[in-house]
């Protein structure tokens, strides 16, 4: 089976508002990051791919299957929505078993797969824990278990790490990387760190349009030689922020260590540093403007 998602000229309108405009993307096997600010249209794109929303225009195929064949698409797709939840009175095992039934799994399959998935997401010991008593991280892990239990070829996760503590976030990112073998994991987020730690291929969506699509190294090359760090007096901070795109500030007493993006060396004591994805993302979002408040 061809494991890829092909999107050509996808447009989605909500009444007069265009949420996605002429989006074209090719998503290969492995982890793929979809980055963008809040309201960029990421959730809309995810929902079109999971058949929860009808597209207005364009062509979409998932593993060679046109998106219009919703039944077939649902068979090969696992979806973890942004605010995953389950019935509070069910425990972890019951919830996963219930969703496995909805995924069309037989009793024998469920007997094997449910404990296996709970173990995979480190919830086997908590299988009797009621959903209402679970932490946000535990719920998300259960969410990923339900998304992969029927062994889908495509897993779509919408902002899965929002609201998680740092430890849970790292654990969750690692889990996504583990399950990305032999399948597509489409990770949508506005948290740049998640993409940086997990994805090689990314697309950046802004105001319903793709403004970048490629390898992480290509994104970084956009700001290569344009990221500087400097130690300045804290009182100068406002003036510098007005003049340059500042991507990091660490204030210590009267001094501030800042990281900024500039086309050329902004002042003598500034040192050029290696850019990271966050710098590149900020540059992309504010390209053309040198006076931005961050």
């Amino acid at each position: 089976m061809d494991i890829s998602i092909e999107i050509q000229g996808l447009t989605k309108n909500y009444g007069k508002k265009t949420a996605l405009s002429e989006v074209s993307l090719s998503i290969p096997q492995g982890m793929f990051g979809l980055l963008g600010p809040n309201g960029a249209g990421k959730t809309t794109l995810m929902k079109v791919l999971t058949t929860l929303l009808k597209k207005t225009d364009g062509e979409v195929t998932v593993c060679g299957i046109p998106i219009e064949n919703s039944r077939q698409i649902r068979n090969i797709t696992g979806y973890l929505p942004q605010d995953f939840s389950m019935y509070g009175n069910m425990n972890a095992y019951e919830a996963l078993d219930y969703l496995a039934v909805l995924s069309g799994m037989s009793r024998n399959e469920r007997k094997i797969k449910v404990p296996e998935m709970l173990e995979k997401v480190n919830l086997l010991e908590k299988k009797k824990t009621k959903i209402r008593s679970m932490s946000g991280g535990m719920k998300r892990r259960l969410g990923i278990a339900q998304a992969i239990i029927h062994d889908p070829k495509v897993i779509i996760v919408d902002e899965p790490t929002a609201g998680l503590d740092p430890e849970e976030r790292i654990r969750f990112r690692n889990l996504l990387c583990e399950i990305a073998k032999d399948r597509i994991v489409l990770l949508s987020t506005h948290i740049v760190g998640d993409i940086e730690a997990t994805c090689e291929n990314i697309a950046v969506l802004n105001q319903g349009k793709i403004c970048f699509d490629g390898h992480v190294s290509d994104l970084l090359s956009l700001v290569e030689g344009k990221v500087y760090s400097a130690e300045i007096a804290a009182s100068e901070l406002e003036k510098v922020k007005q003049k340059y795109m500042v991507t990091g500030i660490l204030v210590t007493g009267n001094t501030a260590n800042i990281k900024m993006i500039a086309d050329e060396n902004p002042f003598a004591q500034a040192k050029q540093v290696r850019p990271d994805v966050e710098d590149a993302y900020m540059y992309l979002m504010h390209e053309g403007s040198k006076k931005k408040e961050i």
Binding site: Y14, L52, Y87, S103
Partner: protein, 413 residues
Amino acid sequence: MFGALFLKECRQVLKSLVYYIFVVVFIFSVNSQMSSENWEALKEPQPGQEYYGRTITKDETLIMEKTLANLMQDLYHGSFATYPLGFYKKVTLVDEENKQVKEILERCTGKSYEVMEKELMRHFEKYEQSILEEAMAAEADYKISIRESLTYEEFGTAMEEICRLVGKGSFYEKTMYESGVYVPMTYEQAKEEFDALCSKDLITRGYMRLFCDYAGIFLAILPIFVGVSGALRDKRAKVEQVVFSKQASGIVVIGSRYLANLVMITIPVLVMAFLIQRPCYEMARSMGMQADFFAFLKVPCLWLLPEMMIVLALSFLITEYTDSILAVFIQTAWGIGSLFGADTLVGDFGLKLITRWNTFGQRMLYDSLEKALLWNKGYYCLLAAVCIILTVIVYERKRKKGGTYGKVYKTNC
């Protein structure tokens, strides 16, 4: 998939507090109505008894007198109760139509409306209307004498004119007035009834009809809460999107939920029917009579299951469509309207949601009304199926719209 999901949905119903409230309220309500039976009906009628009960009359003069009395009361109060498609509808006529009704009434009785109005007021003044028994007696005793030359055919034509004015489902339809006028029974009639109770009803079937009468009142309303709670469950738990994204079709999801709720509601009803039937069965056996042990299954399944089906199905449909508890208000109003809209406590089925049979026995009457009952129950079974199909359509439409949307939608719509 359906079977596994059905069992899981049953388990979910069992975890619902609303369900337990339903069970407790149902048991308490029915028990409070049926706990004091004196088994008089099991005693064979003897010649010379003062009272043998009531029966529907076939006497055409009596039918005409009572029907016209009913018409006079409706005209006096300015409204006519009708049940088009089983739903209560209060019909108020315009002046011109009221004038036509008056003319029909005057034609049938040979008296002026003013005279009949005075007679009506004089009659009801004789009774203390604030006492229920008195008010019921006033209603039962009130009749209008007809014009001597009035034939039954002429009367029938006049009632057809009334039906044209007030619309479908009124008491003035032939099938309604021919089965809605009661008279005291004679010894022979009582004996015939008793024999029918023993031979056709096998005692317990007749008793189960009485159980169904009381249970039917509560089942017109109580399952609404179970249905609404079940249909709102996904929304409350915020699991709509994850369920929508699964392979299971709307028919499987809605169908299994509906069936699970129906089965879980039916179980306590049948258990209650069994418990209520037990003393009757034992009493009949102790008196050497043959009794039907399985009446607690047969009668409620015919009488109550279609009612539970439509109540639950409609609550599913309204809730799925509105995502609110609106069904509670709409259906409670329907249930109450149906309860108070019956012209009699025994029979008068039409398309009413609650089919009354507030008596132990009366098999002869039941035989004459069985067809009407089957039509009523068949109609509601069919309507329930239609409601569930519509619920599936609404569910699938919501699924294609994604339930809730992303921030783009939220901030712009």
